[in-house]
């Protein structure tokens, strides 16, 4: 669950007027990304990607030379502090020469109430504020897109562990400080697997590419509206970005300059509907916006090839346009000649949360099954040789045995999963005593196990709460048997193939934790005797277990 993305803007340390950028303004940026979570926080998916996108944007449109930008990924607190400290002499030199300077500090990652979480380490907001305020920049823009783990304990009642929003505003606000947060203290925010980004950063970047005016207020409004719209119908809940500013001076605070764009895509007046701009090969979404008719909208993009998808209203069809943007040559989109294509799944992003199957990255199923004993010639031979079936060593059931089962897997598709399974197939004990008046007894027992790779086809129902499934797999079976007579014991291991099949259903009454019930049949000819008789330790089984699943893009 990405919690409370923040924009802390305009740490105007002493001066922010005039806010219209001076010609001699020197731009610097520190862009930090951290997917790692601390204790109790799950790993993020897109924090590093968001950091790279912001860095690319600042270089491309933010007049930030590459050597003025520090892209810091998965850092420790010390590395972040060193990156900030390293700017001090440069900014001081500009100030000494009477030149203006701007610093953009962007962070995407986890956070707790009063600190950024950098893996297991934390960077206190106090320390960050002090370090940033100590810089002699004329304008400092801080963007904190922070996540807080442990909040996504369920769709209902999910709460941030602490009020990051309020505390961070309190901690970072100062004279000339503006704070923009993407959610209120009680709200959660989220990443989107469809956008491969957090909602907030995605819309902020889209706005700064031209969907909005490129100044602070307009970028905020654009990000606010689109983030709210996108998250309104999600399970996690809506996000309301907030902006608090205490900027001295007048006028706008431009963050990007589309006039500097390498290439420009114009969406003419006639274009109407949802527009997605993505790279054709990788499918990376660079911009997604709602285009109203009657206005021209210009997007600043790097030159290259793009696929532009235009969906009008709720139409099931979309126009898929292949466009090549040339350097310094504005390109007006014309949907005449574009292919009409089926709606790809990721275009349904607006307002929809990712489907649950996309969120479920992995699952763990642990439980027990009752495995019915399977008799064959191998067992008949034991009985011919006067052994008595004592059933399972635990429980003494001749009908079968209770056995542990474990499965770990992940989703390949809405209807397909791949999993590894570990099962105990059987545990049986045989006993023989040939003479009434002599204590000597012979025991023969075995335990067999299997490890297998299985494919599972599933059919989700009721919003993923129920999912009947069918499973088929192959693997390796191994059995250890012991032959004991008097004080001697002979143990040996045997191996054989295993083919398994199962039908079952998963039920998730709670979001993460559920149940799995299945009926299985295994074929496991593992054991053999000196009479060349094989024993199939498989057979019918009934299993019940707990199911835990890891989720994508919600922490």
């Amino acid at each position: 669950m990405r919690v409370l993305p923040w924009l802390l803007l305009g740490l105007g340390l002493g001066w922010l007027a005039p806010t219209r950028v001076r010609a001699d303004l020197h731009s610097y940026a520190i862009v930090v990304g951290s997917n790692r979570g601390g204790h109790g926080q799950q790993r993020l998916e897109y924090a590093l990607q968001d950091a790279r996108r912001v860095a690319e944007l600042l270089v491309e449109l933010g007049r930030t030379p590459r050597d003025h930008l520090q892209l810091v990924l998965e850092p420790s607190p010390e590395v972040v502090e060193q990156a900030i400290a390293a700017l001090r002499p440069k900014l001081a030199a500009h100030a000494a020469r009477g030149e203006g300077s701007r610093l953009v500090f962007y962070y995407s990652g986890h956070a707790r109430a009063r600190a950024l979480s950098l893996g297991e380490r934390e960077l206190p907001l106090d320390a960050l504020r002090s370090a940033l305020m100590a810089l002699p920049s004329t304008l400092t823009v801080v963007v904190l897109d922070a996540c807080q783990s442990g909040a996504f304990s369920g769709v209902k009642g999910a709460q941030p562990a602490a009020d990051f929003s309020t505390s961070s505003v309190f901690d970072l606000r100062n004279e000339g400080v503006a704070v923009m947060a993407s959610s209120t203290a009680a709200e959660l925010s989220q990443e989107s697997s469809e956008l491969s980004s957090s909602y907030f950063t995605h819309h902020l970047v889209t706005g700064l590419r031209g969907a909005a005016d490129q100044d602070l207020d307009e970028a905020y409004r654009y990000a606010y509206q689109n983030t709210l719209s996108d998250t309104l119908r999600t399970r996690v809940g809506s996000q309301h970005a907030t902006l608090e500013t205490e900027l001295k001076g007048h006028g706008s605070v431009p963050l990007t300059y589309t006039a500097d764009a390498d290439a420009v895509l114009r969406l003419p007046e006639a274009i109407e509907g949802r527009v997605i701009v993505q790279r054709p090969q990788r499918g990376t979404v660079l911009a997604e916006l709602s285009k109203a008719p009657g206005a021209v909208l210009t997007l600043a993009l790097p030159h290259g090839r793009y696929e532009i998808l235009v969906r009008r209203g709720i139409a099931a069809e979309i126009y898929a346009c292949q466009v090549t943007l040339l350097q310094r040559v504005p390109h007006a989109l014309d949907t005449t000649g574009c292919q009409v294509a089926k709606l790809p799944t990721h275009t349904g992003k607006g307002g929809d949360s990712p489907p649950p199957w996309e969120r479920e990255r992995w699952f763990l199923e642990a439980g027990a099954s009752f495995r019915f004993a399977h008799d064959d010639a191998y067992v008949d031979t034991l009985e011919q040789f006067q052994f008595e079936d004592q059933g399972s060593p635990t429980g003494g059931l001749e009908q079968g045995s209770f056995a542990p089962q474990l499965a770990l897997g992940g989703n390949l598709h809405r209807n397909a999963q791949l999993l590894g399974r570990f099962d105990r197939l059987a545990a049986r004990n045989f006993y023989r005593r040939l003479e009434a008046d002599r204590p000597e007894e012979t025991e023969f027992e075995w335990r067999s196990y299997s490890i297998a790779l299985a494919a599972r086809g599933r059919w989700p129902l009721l919003g993923e709460r129920l999912a009947p499934f069918a499973e088929l797999g192959i693997g390796l079976g191994f059995a250890g048997n012991d032959f004991r007579f008097e004080t001697s014991e002979d143990s040996q291991w045997e191996f054989g193939p295993v083919v398994l099949a199962a039908l079952g259903i998963t039920a998730h009454l709670w979001w993460r934790i559920g149940l799995v019930l299945k009926v299985g049949y295994d074929y496991a000819p593992i054991l053999s005797n000196k009479m060349n008789q094989n024993h199939d330790d498989g057979g019918l089984s009934l299993g019940l277990g707990l199911r835990l699943r890891g989720l994508r893009g919600a922490f």
Binding site: T381, L382, Q384, F385, Q386, E388, Q390, G391, P393, T394, G395, G396, N429, Y431, R433, L434, E435, A436, D437, R438, P439, E440, E441, T442, E443, F444, F483, F485, E486, T487, S488, D490, N529, K530, M531, Q533
Partner: protein, 226 residues
């Protein structure tokens, strides 16, 4: 049918039972080699000792005597579960005497594997006088258990079980389990001529002369003398 005692059905109890037996076995570990050859199912039990050929005294199964030919130990379904193999070129016989007076029926469970060109006969010599009073020919078998029941005479003094293999092939026997039945059909067994007898009721011929069952000749001779 009486049979070997079953261990307790409950697993925990059975394990305790097993452990106690194993403890006894461990405590008597040093004595076992010496006792294995002479222990039996009780002094007057009809059940043979070492019926599963699990104990071996050198090249022969303990408690059994090799009367003819030679035998050796072979593995059966498991490398440590043994049978006795009758592998002489023609006749091979092992036997065991039991000093029992049990009257009733004896139930046999014989688990054996017999080649096509071999026969195996289980014989019972009541009174241990060298006369096989009753024999059961085992059919050609691929490891199979064959049960059968025979009556005893009304009176006898001990018996000898014998296993006789004939033919060029091999026979293997894993168990000769014997249990006793108090009530059985075809009781009693009439003894053959020459068998010891106390009265004529035990003899097949109905005649007991000089404490021996007389044959048919003994019956007819007096007629001729008359």
């Amino acid at each position: 049918m009486s049979h070997s005692p079953r261990p307790p059905a409950n697993a925990a109890a059975r394990r305790a039972f097993t452990a106690s037996l194993r403890g006894l076995a461990l405590r008597g570990l040093l004595l076992l080699p010496a006792t294995a050859g002479c222990a039996s199912g009780g002094p007057d039990s009809a059940e043979p000792s070492n019926p599963g050929f699990v104990f071996w005294c050198g090249a022969t199964p303990c408690n059994w005597e090799v009367d003819e030919g030679s035998v050796h130990k072979v593995s059966t379904w498991h490398r440590h579960d043994y049978a006795v193999s009758f592998d002489g070129p023609d006749r091979t016989r092992i036997s065991q005497f039991r000093d029992t007076r049990f009257v009733g029926c004896l139930h046999f469970d014989v688990t054996a594997k017999i080649d096509k060109d071999a026969t195996l006969t289980l014989g019972v010599d009541f009174n241990n006088d060298g006369t096989i009073d009753l024999s059961q020919l085992q059919p050609e078998l691929p490891w199979r258990n064959v049960p059968f029941t025979i009556p005893t005479p009304t009176a006898y003094q001990g018996l000898r079980y014998s296993l006789l293999k004939q033919g060029a092939g091999t026979a293997q026997v894993a168990h000769v389990l014997v249990s006793t039945l108090d009530d059985c059909p075809n009781f009693p067994l009439q003894l053959k001529a020459g068998s010891p007898c106390a009265d004529e009721s035990v003899c097949e011929s109905g005649r007991c002369l000089d404490e021996r069952c007389a044959g048919d000749e003994a019956v007819s001779q007096p007629t001729k003398s008359e």
